[in-house]
């Protein structure tokens, strides 16, 4: 089933800093909720393991993350797909756009994702809420990292 | 694995249970009391209903270890000295069951209903109170009849016992 979500946050740093953090595996790893490992497999791709719980289903997802449509320092598309074993799968991507803002940098995101298997069967009604929560968690952590690195 | 003790159908029992063992698994697999059934994974159908310390509880969403020391009644514990509980009798007399899979949960739910709402139950109350029990066979018609009759019989029984 499909899930979409979009939003924006203002981060207290300049575009170049934000862009650097967006490409830094360590920052991403610390910011992605439940992320257990994130290893660079090439300049623009990572292997990731993340543990996520959606309603009654919790699963460890193993998958790859690719950075596409790179347009430094204005944005990219981050795409991933992961298999959660018995729990199902998730795949999708987020278009991330950076623009200048009086308070720093505005980051706008547009997420489109597909989930399947048990996640869709039991988690369907919860998925939007969970996704929003995960996004909030991500940006809270990411903002901290940006602030620290700014 | 921790050992768990409780009273089931009036008898002290103990057995091993993991942290994730559900009460229904403990009853069915450890104690071999298979009258309590599992019909769903989401706490909706009521096939697993038992009484814990006199209250109706879905045993599929209760952890066994949480019931340490509790007194539990299952469908197997209703008949006394070979005599059926009036609610069991009412289900049989009124053809309140077909495949019998939902029946233990229905009977346990019905007795709890009487305990909470009294012995004079109208159709609307019964139907409303059965919200947590699904039956696919009977269309509920005869379950409703059975519960009304069983409740009335429990009332009479209570009077008789009080008189004795």
């Amino acid at each position: 089933m499909a899930m979409t979500m979009s939003g924006e946050v203002v981060l207290p740093a300049d575009k170049a800093t934000v862009w650097a953090k967006l490409n830094d595996p360590e920052t991403l790893k610390n910011s992605i909720p439940g992320c257990q490992s994130l290893e660079k497999t090439s300049d623009t791709s990572f292997a990731a393991v993340a543990k996520i719980k959606i309603g009654p289903v919790s699963a460890t997802f193993r998958g790859k993350v690719n950075l596409e449509d790179l347009d430094p320092p204005n944005g990219y598309r981050i795409a991933g797909e992961g298999e959660g074993g018995v729990a199902g799968f998730a795949k999708g991507g987020a278009v991330v756009k950076l623009s200048d803002d009086p308070a720093g940098t505005k980051l706008a995101y547009d997420v489109e994702a597909q989930i399947g298997g048990k996640l869709a069967q039991l988690g369907a009604r919860l998925i939007n809420g969970v996704a929003k929560k995960l996004a909030d968690e991500f940006f809270a952590k990411f903002a901290e990292a940006v602030k620290a690195g700014a | 694995m921790p050992t768990l003790s409780m009273t089931v159908n009036g008898k002290p029992v103990s057995g091993e249970a993991e942290g994730r063992t559900l009460l229904v698994q403990f009853l069915r697999e450890t104690l071999r009391l298979t009258g309590t059934h599992v019909g769903c994974d989401t706490s909706q159908c009521g096939a697993c209903l038992v009484h814990i310390d006199g209250k109706a509880v879905k045993s599929c969403t209760t952890l066994a270890l949480a019931c340490a020391g509790a007194s539990i009644t299952t469908i197997e514990g209703l008949a006394r000295d070979g005599k059926l509980h009036p609610m069991q009798e009412a289900f049989r007399e009124n053809h309140g069951l077909q495949c019998g899979f939902c029946t233990p949960g229905m009977i346990m739910s019905a007795i709890d209903m009487v305990n909470r709402k009294g012995t004079d139950l109208d159709e609307q109350t019964i139907r409303h109170e059965l919200e947590g029990n699904i039956c696919r066979c009977t269309g509920y018609h005869n379950i409703v009849k059975s519960i009304a009759a069983g409740a009335a019989a429990m009332g009479k029984e209570g009077l008789r016992q009080a008189a004795e």
């Binding site: 298999e83 074993g85 069967q121 | 053809h95 495949c99 066979c137």
Partner: protein, 788 residues
């Protein structure tokens, strides 16, 4: 009528074990040393399986084995079968793809069986499954018939390149077109018959076991027909020859069709038992049941009815697309064809009917028989057409029905069936009287005063039950005969065991069958035991579905009982020293005609075994007889259901206020049990009409996979029902039985929708009429009122 004989409301013998928690369902059984199976299921609707890596899973604690499609292929385990061959219009056989018990190369629906993990405990099996790594390459999901039949859609099976399994038809197209050409009025409807999940409350389960001492497999399974399961597992799937395979279906917690079929899970459990050298147990959780049990219905139909100037029906034209799912289940092909189109004549005189049906593969769970199987779909088409035609012609719907009812029997329809007995006007009149239709207008205005919309809907259904004459179904493509067997074993002291090939999973056979035996033999009902559900005990049988256990199963018992009595007379003639022709059997006594010389049934049974009073070479000792009964016709239960309901236009909530059913099941053995069957059927039919629907999204994910999302009817959604009966005995079987198991589910959906559309004043609502859908429909201007 005796207190326990035919026609009596005998309280059920089987109930004691169920109300005391002593029922014995498959999951209640544990075998020594048993292991547990957990299936790895595809999370994708359609995908190539590039590899399955079990190496990590095999390292997990407790894991005994992991099997994939390659393992069953290596063991030459055959695919699951579809037992009914349908031919397309052009004469070509249906295009069926293989149905392996574990997917080979491709997964075709979410829930498809990709691998199985067998471990010491269920938790360990599940943990093992978590570690199986499957590399999928996704293919386009085709979860609905429009997508699957679109130009250029990917083929789900190479055998059916356009995803069409068959283009089948029935009836005389030219005659029907001619009828339409001369029609004065044509009613047209587009109809969706929503996809349902049967949802027996007991999830499916299986335990496979192998005894390597004598090479015998045993399978405990939740089956409505253990012998058919054995036949398929033996002859087609190749587990073991029949004499080395025992199938036991103990207490089964409801079936409704879904437990007829032979599924991957039980096949794997019994096969794997030998591989791992341990019993293998599997019990579905509810979500697995939603994913992988055979679903029901799922038709898209365009239907037309032609009327002459006097509003007499001239013809009917029906074109249906039937979703068969990703694989053809055991009887899938027959449901939207021979169990559907032959019922399109309903209770009416329709001179010409033409029906075409496309069977379509989609990437969804297989679709097969669910309570009524084809007949609810047909009845929904007929009774919606009839109701709408009456409304369009501004006729009272009951008068319109009256005018077009079949009144002469036998009646040959243009679609195979020959109705042999019925009284449709009487059922209608009885129902209208019971329902107090006369005062409906008052009730309606009273509702209006409260701002509510009240509607009244009729459904005059017919079904073909007692399936079925073997040669007839054989000529239509069935792979099996549909007779039934019985064996009556009389013990020396006169107690009786009856072994039947029927299977009870809620129907109460242990009581009704015993009533027949007690009645015919004149013995106490306590002296009769019914044995079923074990292929080691009962020699052969075709099982229980299609409301056949009375009309076919009991008929076999009656035939065997007649043989017992005939043999008893022979024994009695020696005991009573009279000629065999002078012995009468009545009320449990063998009596010499015109004398008071007699002997009780028990005495004669004893004499049959002692064998002192006759020459054992001339008359065989013992008293045991068997019979196979092959019906001569279908039976045709019919009736009228009336639904009265009230809609709250501000919320769309629908409340059924009153339900009246008058059914003709022929003679009835136990009215209490028959009424119970009607109640349950109505509830399922109301569920279909108001609440239930299996939903796949565009990516082929099943969104309704638990009771949180699939709406089951609950006590509060239903009223108590008024049940009446009329009786025209079925002429085709000895007791005149017709069958009652499916009636309610067949009758109810059109009654509900006819009532809703009556309340709304327009026809624009589809099943399920959920509050949201009804609320939306309430926003639309009533076309009928507007036109009036």
């Amino acid at each position: 009528m005796s207190a326990t004989g035919i026609g009596a409301r005998v309280v059920r013998k089987e109930d004691h074990r169920f109300i005391t928690g002593k029922g014995r369902y498959v999951d209640d059984i544990n075998r020594p040393g048993q292991s547990h199976a957990y299936f790895v299921r595809s999370p994708h609707a359609h995908a190539t399986i590039k590899s399955v890596d079990a190496s990590e899973a095999l390292k997990k604690p407790g894991v005994l084995a992991v099997f994939t499609g390659a393992d069953i292929a290596a063991d030459k385990i055959g695919g699951l079968i579809c037992g009914w061959m349908i031919h397309s219009k052009d004469g070509s056989p249906m295009k069926a793809g293989a149905h392996p018990a574990l997917a080979q190369g491709k997964a075709r629906y979410v829930g498809d069986h990709v691998a199985v993990v067998i471990a010491e405990t269920l938790a360990q099996a599940r943990d093992g499954a978590e570690a199986v790594v499957v590399d999928y390459e996704e293919l386009p999901p085709l979860p609905d018939m429009t997508l699957a039949t679109a130009k250029g859609a990917a083929a789900i099976h190479a055998e059916a390149p356009d995803n069409i399994v068959y283009n089948w038809h029935l009836g005389d197209k030219a005659a029907t077109d001619a009828a339409f050409a001369k029609a004065k009025h044509v009613t047209k409807l587009d109809i969706v018959n929503n996809r349902l999940v049967p949802n027996a409350m007991e999830p499916r389960a299986a335990i496979g076991e192998y005894d390597d001492g004598d090479g015998v497999f045993t399978l405990y399974t939740t089956s409505q027909n253990p012998h058919v399961a054995r036949l398929v597992l033996s002859a087609f799937i190749g587990i073991a020859p029949e004499n080395k395979l025992r199938v036991i279906a103990p207490d089964v917690g409801g079936g409704f069709g879904s437990k007829i079929f032979i599924y991957a899970e039980e096949t794997i459990c019994v096969w794997a038992a030998k591989k791992v050298g341990r019993p293998v147990k599997w019990t579905a959780d509810r979500t697995e049941e939603f994913l992988a049990v055979a679903h029901g219905r799922d038709h898209l139909t365009h239907a037309e009815l032609a009327l002459d100037g006097d509003n007499r029906i001239l013809g009917m034209r029906v074109s249906t697309k039937a979703n068969l799912g990703a694989y053809l289940s055991t009887f899938a092909s027959s449901v939207p064809t021979y169990l559907y189109a032959p019922l399109l004549s309903g209770q009416y005189n329709i001179p010409s009917i033409y029906c075409e049906v496309d069977g379509v593969y989609t990437t969804t769970a297989p679709v097969d028989a669910y309570r009524g199987a084809g007949r609810p779909e047909a009845t929904y088409v007929v009774e919606r057409l009839i109701e709408v035609a009456a409304r369009e012609r501004r006729m009272d719907p009951t008068a319109f029905r009256e005018m077009n009812f079949v009144r002469q029997f036998p009646h040959q329809t243009p679609v195979i069936m020959m109705y042999d007995a019925g009284n449709y006007p009487l059922a209608l009149k009885t129902a209208m009287d019971m329902h107090d239709v006369k005062t409906f207008a008052q009730r309606r205005s009273e509702s209006e005063r409260r701002g509510k919309l009240r509607g009244l809907g009729y459904s005059a259904y017919i079904e073909a039950c007692g399936i079925a004459p073997s040669a007839a179904v054989g000529s239509l493509g069935a792979g099996v005969g549909l007779w039934e067997s019985a064996e009556v074993r009389v013990n020396p002291i006169g107690t009786v065991e009856v072994l039947t090939g029927s299977h009870a999973h809620g129907q109460g056979h242990e009581t009704t069958f015993a009533q027949v035996v007690a009645d015919r033999l004149g013995i106490p009902i306590e002296n009769v035991s019914i044995v079923h559900g074990d292929t080691d005990k009962v020699q052969m049988g075709m099982g229980t579905y299609g409301s056949r256990s009375g009309a076919v199963g009991i008929s076999a018992i009656v035939k065997a009982l007649d043989k017992v009595v005939a043999k008893g007379k022979k024994v009695a003639s020696h005991v009573l020293e009279a000629s065999e022709g002078d012995i009468e059997f009545k009320d449990g006594q063998f009596q010499v005609k015109g004398t008071d010389k007699k002997a009780g049934f028990g005495d004669i049974a004893l004499q049959a075994y002692i064998a002192h009073k006759f020459n054992g070479q001339e008359l065989e000792p013992g008293l045991k007889e068997g019979a196979f009964y092959d019906p001569t016709n279908f039976t045709f239960p019919a009736g009228v259901h009336i639904c009265e309901l009230e809609i709250d236009p501000s919320t769309g909530a629908t409340e059924i206020k009153k339900w009246t059913a008058v059914d003709d099941f022929g003679n009835v053995i136990n009215p209490m049990i028959v009424e119970g069957q009607v109640h349950g059927g109505i509830a399922q039919g109301v569920g279909q009409a108001l609440a239930e629907q299996a939903v796949y999204d565009k990516s082929g994910q099943l969104l309704t996979a638990s009771y949180m999302d699939y709406c089951m009817p609950r006590a509060d959604d239903l009223p108590s029902f008024e049940i009446g009966m009329i009786t025209t005995p079925a002429p085709s079987n000895p007791l005149g039985l017709k069958g009652c198991g499916e009636a309610g589910a067949i009758a109810a959906p059109p009654a509900v929708i006819n009532a809703i559309t009556d309340a709304l004043g327009h026809e624009d609502i589809a099943m399920p009429a959920t509050p949201q859908a009804v609320w939306r429909a309430c926003q639309k201007r009533p076309s009928r009122l507007a036109a009036e």
